[in-house]
């Protein structure tokens, strides 16, 4: 039986196909160049505008006159073309799309590398650059090489202080930063079925850190229930019979992990770096900025004070609103966290929350590349639980003793 990627793209691995794109989105960063390229193509065609999304998330609100002018230009463009516009404060593109705009079996292309996040719904979702997006805007379709697939078998269930982010770091470490280049990952097995939709989004999000073009889960009862909350009735998908290439992870053996700067695949147990002083903790991003992540963090810091500056950026307006309604937001504020506008925050080092030379940040994001969050700084990646324990201690700390 075909893999999910083969099923959706309609051809065996290795073949090239042209496919209509069900949904395409860009953000305030890539949208600028995509608009320029689209204007240069000069056909004037813009099919399916109601399924084209422009989502402001990279520098929100604008930090300079130049950024403001670029955003103004894009806002006007989106309105002229009849695109779906998520303006400043709406949230990170992948999270906004995950709130009812991504469905199983669809071909979804985002002008951002972490567009693989939406594979969590059983969609073929992948990232491209700006000119590719302009081509999709102009023609409604694009070409794909159908990827070979690596099966990532998840056994067992998470225990103790282990979180989905730790599983993501574990599989990135197991495959390496280019271990799945040009391939798709399919997360299968009982452990995968047992993960919540939010956990699946975290795992799919980091597929690109192995070089993969997609990171997919099969739609099942969990998917159906999540999407029913957005008014969508969807069918479950049937998993492939097997994979020529696979790895297995036992979720029961996963412990809180850290990715060490500057490589996402250099991973060790949090306990091996306990005591390392940090200057900032950052909770947020398309990896771990969802309500459940904020709630997990709040559970640990409730009634206490953080010992180090802590920046929290909810992944979307819906996340922020829910955190406000349940008291999670006031818990974070009372603990001394700085809460920012929903969006990417300091993850890409373009505005608020960047770190200084020689400073260390423990972040729940997906990348710790050199200088990414500020020149001369170092980024450690970990789960929201580890972030909370670390924020309280002012130094890297395993969350195990906080539960």
């Amino acid at each position: 039986m075909a893999t999910l990627a083969e099923e959706i793209l309609g051809a065996p691995a290795g073949e090239y196909v042209d496919r209509r794109v069900d949904r395409a989105y860009a953000h305030d960063g890539t949208g600028v160049l995509a608009r320029e390229a689209w204007l240069s193509i000069r056909t004037g065609a813009f099919p399916d505008p109601e399924r084209r999304y422009l989502i402001f998330d990279h520098i929100v609100p604008a930090n300079t006159s130049l950024t403001a002018d670029l955003q103004k230009e894009l806002r006007t463009f989106a309105r002229q073309r009849g695109m779906h516009l998520s303006d400043v404060g709406g949230g990170v593109c992948h999270q906004v799309m995950a709130e009812g705009y991504a469905l199983p079996g669809e071909v979804i292309v985002g002008a951002d590398s972490h567009s693989c996040t939406l594979g969590a719904f059983g969609a073929f979702a992948t990232g491209v650059g700006a000119t590719d997006m302009a081509g999709i805007w102009a023609t409604g379709e694009t070409w794909f090489r159908v990827p070979e697939t690596t099966g990532v078998f998840l056994d067992g269930a998470l225990t103790g202080a282990a979180a989905a982010k730790d599983v993501a770091l574990a599989y990135v470490a197991a495959l390496g930063m280019d271990g799945a280049t040009y391939r798709a990952l399919e997360f299968v097995g009982e452990g995968a079925s047992g993960l919540s939709m939010v956990d699946r989004l975290t795992l799919s999000n980091m597929a690109v850190e192995t070089g993969a073009k997609a990171g997919m889960f099969y739609a099942d009862a969990v998917t159906r229930e999540y999407l029913a909350g957005f008014g969508h009735a969807v069918e479950a998908q049937t998993p492939a019979a097997g994979y020529p290439d696979e790895i297995t992870l036992d979720l029961g053996n996963i412990e809180p992990l850290l990715a060490l700067p500057p490589r996402v695949d250099t991973v060790c147990p949090v306990t091996e770096r306990e005591g390392l002083t940090v200057d900032q903790v950052f909770l947020g991003t398309c990896t771990c900025g969802r309500y459940e992540d904020l709630e997990a963090f709040a559970r640990i810091v409730r009634g206490k004070k953080v010992a180090v500056r802590t920046v929290v950026v909810p992944a979307s307006r819906a996340v922020l609103a829910r955190a406000a309604a349940t008291g999670v937001l006031s818990t974070l504020i009372e603990a001394g966290c700085a809460v920012g506008t929903p969006g990417c925050g300091p993850c890409l080092g373009a505005h608020m929350g960047v770190i200084g030379e020689g400073e260390v940040c423990l972040s729940t994001a997906n990348r710790n590349f050199r200088n990414r969050m500020g020149v001369g700084g170092e980024i450690y990646l970990a789960s929201p639980l580890t972030a909370a324990a670390t924020a309280l201690a002012g130094e890297i700390r395993s969350p195990e003793e906080c539960l």
């Binding site: 600028v32 130049l66 650059g129 590719d132 930063m177 070089g211 050199r370």
Partner: protein, 157 residues
């Protein structure tokens, strides 16, 4: 599509943040990207890229989808980038903006003359000729057109 230049050797896993840092992205002025390309890797590199064939290790261009990384290299005068493997979004971006990318295994000696022929599928350095992994017919056409914009404007797709 033929070309030649002098080798400029880089390591493995060169990520797009290293090619062009996030702090320089918010502009349409391509000369800014060219001026700051590889700044965090080696600030002297930007001035040495004109006429260079970059020969890198595996996984060149991993990370972000930022097309400015490919544009910055082209704008700085890079003739082509050769590496055993490329991150797929970077590879596709390069083709889309008309930057030649050569998938090959070729040892790198700084400053050595390099020649290649994409149509015949070879790269030559220091008297050693190695095969290039072939591009798909579509990618070749896009590159021959000078990128996706001229390709689509020319009535393709």
């Amino acid at each position: 599509m033929k070309g030649d230049g002098r080798a400029l050797c880089l390591g493995r896993d060169i990520d797009t943040d290293l090619v062009i840092a996030g702090r320089y992205l918010r502009t349409k002025d391509r000369s800014v990207w060219a001026a700051h390309v590889f700044e965090d890797l080696d600030s002297t590199l930007a001035g040495r890229l004109a006429g260079a064939v970059i020969v890198a290790g595996p996984n060149f261009g991993c990370g972000s989808s930022r097309e400015q990384a490919a544009v910055a290299l082209k704008e700085a005068g890079v003739v082509a980038v050769a590496a055993p493997t490329f991150a797929r979004i970077f590879f596709r971006n390069a083709v889309n903006i008309g930057l030649l990318v050569l998938e090959c295994e070729i040892p790198c000696h700084e400053g050595e003359a390099i020649r290649f022929d994409l149509d015949e599928g070879w790269i030559e350095a220091g008297g050693t000729r190695r095969p290039l992994r072939p591009l798909s017919p579509r990618m070749r056409e896009v590159l021959r057109s000078g990128g996706l914009v001229p390709y689509l404007s020319g009535g393709h797709g």
